[in-house]
């Protein structure tokens, strides 16, 4: 039995790590969704974080904690700069602007020599341990739990529900939106740094359009009413392709089908909040 568990863990530990990283990314988009903003820049922020953290480790031999912190700070800083003009946009326009931003980031990675261009960075030492991931995830869950019933969380929800009404209540909508964007970028960056340190390798193609949409799918599938939704969504969507392996070439077909069915039958996501009497 223990032997079975051992080999099970040895086989699937990376998958579990990935589940946690995807969970963080889902939370990073959740915080912007929580104030009604649809940002698709999180894949790019993850990329910036991954490269930054990996380069801190590779070139500066920085301690892991510092690499991760840098991996969170740089995307947060970039988010702050682009956030102020960008967040005047709303809905799909914001989504598309951030998507455009992501594309620019990808091309920049592709053409910089320090990032290794299209070849990418390889030989990133495997520093990420399970407890790092659990710790970061724990901190995030704590943060979102605290946020939920605080004045800040309520302000975000108010902005999501009705931005104009929120402004009239004295809520500084713009600064809340920018903060949510920056925090989301920070989370995505840290997730990127953690990911880079257990996959040995990173290349620009990982952080493009498709992954940006994947992250959004995590959140929408799980439900955006509470932060548990994105966590559930990312877990399911990360494990599902692995579970469907036995289907061979058609596993993605079933994956797509399940996605459609879940959305059609649970359009508000798997986890929905109901306020009752």
């Amino acid at each position: 039995m223990t032997e079975f568990l051992m080999s099970f863990w040895q086989t699937y530990n990376t998958l579990f790590y990935t589940v946690l990283v995807h969970g963080m990314l889902a939370l990073s988009i959740y915080i912007t969704l929580a104030c009604g903003q649809l940002s698709l820049g999180n894949a790019a922020f993850m990329g910036i974080g991954a490269y930054t953290a990996a380069l801190f480790t590779l070139k500066l031999n920085a301690p892991f904690g510092l690499s991760l912190l840098a991996g969170g700070m740089l995307p947060a800083f970039v988010a702050l700069i682009i956030g102020v003009p960008t967040l005047r946009l709303s809905g799909v326009y914001l989504a598309m602007a951030t998507l455009g931003f992501g594309e620019v980031v990808r091309v920049v990675f592709l053409n910089m020599s320090i990032t290794g261009g299209s070849v990418g960075l390889n030989g990133v030492p495997p520093k990420t341990e399970l407890w790092h991931l659990l710790l970061v995830m724990g901190v995030l869950i704590y943060f979102f739990l605290k946020l939920k019933n605080s004045r800040f969380g309520r302000a975000l929800e108010a902005i999501r529900e009705d931005e104009v009404a929120a402004a009239v209540m004295g809520i500084k909508t713009t600064s809340f939106k920018v903060w949510a964007f920056v925090i989301g970028a920070f989370i995505a960056g840290v997730a990127g740094g953690l990911n880079a340190h257990f996959t040995f390798f990173l290349s620009p193609r990982e952080y493009g359009f498709d992954f940006a949409v994947d992250i959004l799918t995590f959140a929408i599938l799980g439900g955006t009413g509470t932060f548990w939704g994105p966590l559930v969504g990312s877990t399911i969507l990360t494990i599902l392709p692995e579970m469907l392996r036995f289907l061979g070439s058609y596993r993605l077909a079933l994956n797509g089908l399940i996605l459609v069915l879940v959305v059609v039958y649970l359009p508000n996501g798997i986890i929905t909040v109901k306020k009752k009497d």
Binding site: N149, S150, R151, R154, E157, A158, V164, M169, G170, T173
Partner: protein
């Protein structure tokens, strides 16, 4: 306490408000009436900062607020409701009111994360106050319910409660009685007066003349963006211009 100076507002060549000057004194219930399209809601939007006047100034408690963003105007002590109800539908009643109290909270993000006593204290105190406000509108019993589940009339009251929660010096109320049945309207009139008695100045737009005549101490009449009459309800309703443009003869008895 509120002074409007020569407010002009153009919408693509159409003059919606024309050199409007008006004063609302402290402690009043001030009524703004006029036919549809007279510019009443536009005026509210300008006062609360959602829309900018083409020319003119808005002075609130001695401060020029014409170009401040809505959140700053709210911070100066202005609260409002909307003609087309804009409550936070997916939040509970209590959360709606607490969101309205946003600027009364002072604790920092650090206090939130560390669960510092200051947060607990504030949350507890303001929660009690929120329930008190809900009680004012007979909604405290439904505090945990989702706002969307309320009846139309109740939603209007909730919005009023939320506006009151910002603890405004001046409360702009846009058609509070619209869609209410006579009993609800009656109840609402009482509540408005009660709020006023607590020291809140109120400026309201309303089409229900019984309501206006019943609660307002001063009434301004707008027609095509111009002020055509100002005075006590009694004076206004017998003003010939008002009778012609809006009310008709029956009101003046």
């Amino acid at each position: 306490m509120l002074r409007l100076e020569n407010i002009i507002k153009d919408f693509g060549g159409l003059r919606v408000l024309d050199s409007l000057s008006l004063q609302v004194g402290e402690g009043l219930i001030f009524g703004l009436i006029g036919p549809n399209g007279a510019g009443k809601t536009t005026l509210f939007n300008i006062i609360s900062g959602l829309s900018r006047p083409t020319a003119g100034r808005v002075i609130f408690n001695g401060t020029d607020i014409t170009h401040l963003p809505p959140s700053s105007i709210a911070a100066c002590g202005m609260g409002r409701t909307f003609q087309n109800i804009r409550i936070f539908k997916e939040l509970s009643l209590l959360e709606n009111v607490l969101a309205g109290m946003h600027r009364l909270f002072t604790y920092s993000p650090v206090a939130m994360l560390l669960n510092l006593p200051v947060q607990k204290r504030e949350e507890k105190a303001l929660r009690e106050k929120a329930l008190e406000i809900l009680e004012l509108f007979h909604l405290a019993g439904k505090a945990k319910r989702q706002a969307e589940s309320l009846s139309y009339g109740e939603q209007r009251k909730l919005e009023l409660a939320r506006a009151l929660a910002t603890s405004p010096k001046l409360l702009l109320v846009d058609e509070p009685a619209a869609g209410m049945n006579p009993a609800e309207t009656e109840e609402l009139m009482g509540e408005i007066v009660q709020i006023n008695n607590r020291g809140y100045t109120i400026c309201l737009i309303e089409h229900d003349m019984k309501f206006v005549m019943g609660v307002c101490r001063q009434v301004a009449v707008l027609n095509f963006g111009e002020l055509i009459a100002l005075g006590s309800p009694q004076e206004v309703k017998c003003n010939p211009l008002v009778i012609e443009a809006y009310l008709g003869k029956e009101e003046c008895k």
